[in-house]
């Protein structure tokens, strides 16, 4: 797309829905990270502008609040990716590799293991055999298994989000913003001291 003869590479000629479809159906985690990051960045930008324009806040307060907002967005995205999604993946794999056993589904898994000469359920992880693959032949059990798995991983990922976004992030962002504020105030103090000394020397 060209505007006044300038090429704008960011705006696609045609919105490609097949890419969106692929991302939404195959890479759910990626999709979640993208939407979460975009939302967080936009919200942070809006709030930073709001703080900058607020006339009732002192310069010292702004020096803390703006880096606090930036640090919050950055830490939230990073920590969310590792802790929240990590916990979700961990729960999914605990179900998939038979570490969390569901008695009515375990019968099918045991049967499959006997048929394929797998002695221990630990070997499922070593061989990369997932329970959802085993249950593909029985659709009702497959749906049941998916329900338990999705429910558990939803709860765990919410717990992860609460711990990461509501407890760890505020502590870290406050430390970072306070350090930035102190640094800026010290720099200003040094400058005013220098100005004061140079003025005194000039007067002498």
């Amino acid at each position: 797309m060209k505007i006044y003869g300038i090429k704008l590479p960011l705006i696609p000629k045609k919105i490609n829905l097949s890419k969106f479809y692929k991302l939404a159906t195959k890479d759910k985690n990626k999709m979640f990270i993208y939407t979460y990051s975009i939302g967080l960045a936009a919200s942070s930008a809006a709030h930073i502008v709001g703080v900058k324009r607020n006339e009732n806040m002192s310069m010292q307060e702004k020096l803390f609040l703006i880096p606090q907002e930036i640090a919050e967005a950055a830490i939230n995205i990073g920590i969310f990716m590792f802790l929240s999604l990590g916990l979700k993946n961990y729960t999914d794999k605990m179900f998939e590799y038979g570490k969390i056993k569901i008695p009515e589904i375990d019968k099918f898994v045991q049967k499959y293991m006997k048929e394929n000469n797998i002695k221990d359920s630990k070997d499922l992880l070593k061989k990369g055999i997932q329970i959802s693959d085993i249950l593909k032949s029985d659709i009702n059990q497959y749906i049941k298994f998916n329900k338990y798995k999705n429910g558990a991983s939803w709860i765990i990922s919410i717990l992860g989000s609460i711990i990461s976004c509501n407890i760890i992030t505020p502590f870290l962002r406050n430390i970072i913003a306070a350090k930035y504020q102190h640094k800026k105030i010290n720099m200003k103090d040094d400058k005013t001291k220098d100005n004061f000394v140079s003025q005194k020397l000039e007067n002498q």
């Binding site: 969106f20 479809y21 991302l23 939404a24 159906t25 999709m31 939407t35 975009i38 939302g39 936009a42 919200s43 809006a46 709030h47 502008v49 703080v51 324009r53 607020n54 009732n56 806040m57 002192s58 010292q60 307060e61 803390f64 609040l65 606090q68 990590g86 993946n89 961990y90 794999k93 605990m94 590799y97 038979g98 570490k99 969390i100 056993k101 569901i102 008695p103 630990k122 992880l125 659709i139 009702n140 497959y142 998916n146 329900k147 338990y148 999705n150 429910g151 939803w154 709860i155 919410i158 989000s161 609460i162 976004c165 509501n166 407890i167 505020p170 406050n174 430390i175 306070a178 504020q181």
Partner: protein, 184 residues
């Protein structure tokens, strides 16, 4: 061929390996409690984006402002302003976020119900049909989430940020005057 950055693949490889090791060393659990199983089933069936936003939003209102209030690395004024701003930002953000997400979900709700009806009322269920159903549902959810993101960017700029500033100034004024009154 599509180029994949080596940094990304290495991170992904080690990330998966760490999780697999964690699974390997975790003790096995048997999920025999009926109540727990029922609750997992209910969550999988009914829980959505709105519930997620509500749970995270409410817990954030209960924790984040008080963490700011106990921040001893800054002076009293900054601490109070930061408390007031976090409290108002989270309260307004949660309320607006829940409304926006609910509205966006409602747009696609009819489609989702139709897809659900098509699959669950069909007597011939097989793995391929389930996969197709699953893909449709995730696509509808993704469309709803994306619409939600676009709308929430607009509401963030038009509603959240200005309202947060007004509310922060109001709470700050109240807090600072009450503190001065207390000192006198």
């Amino acid at each position: 061929m599509k180029k994949v950055s080596p940094f990304k693949t290495v991170i992904k490889k080690y990330y998966n390996r760490v999780i697999e090791k964690m699974v390997h060393y975790s003790p096995g659990i048997s999920l025999s409690n009926k109540r727990l199983k029922d609750s997992f089933e209910k969550v999988a069936k009914y829980a959505n984006n709105v519930d997620q936003r509500a749970i995270i939003g409410i817990t954030s209102i209960l924790t984040q402002p008080f963490i700011d209030l106990r921040n001893k690395n800054v002076d009293e004024d900054t601490r109070l302003t930061s408390f007031a701003r976090t409290l108002s930002k989270l309260t307004i953000g949660t309320c607006v976020g829940i409304i926006v997400r609910q509205l966006c979900l409602n747009v696609f709700d009819k489609k989702k119900k139709n897809v659900n009806k098509l699959f669950f009322e069909n007597s011939k269920k097989n793995f391929e049909a389930f996969n197709r159903y699953n893909k449709r549902i995730t696509l509808i959810t993704a469309l709803g989430t994306s619409l939600g993101i676009i709308v929430s960017i607009a509401t963030n700029i038009l509603i959240d940020a200005p309202l947060t500033q007004v509310s922060t100034n109001f709470i700050c004024k109240k807090l600072k005057t009450s503190e001065k009154g207390g000192q006198e």
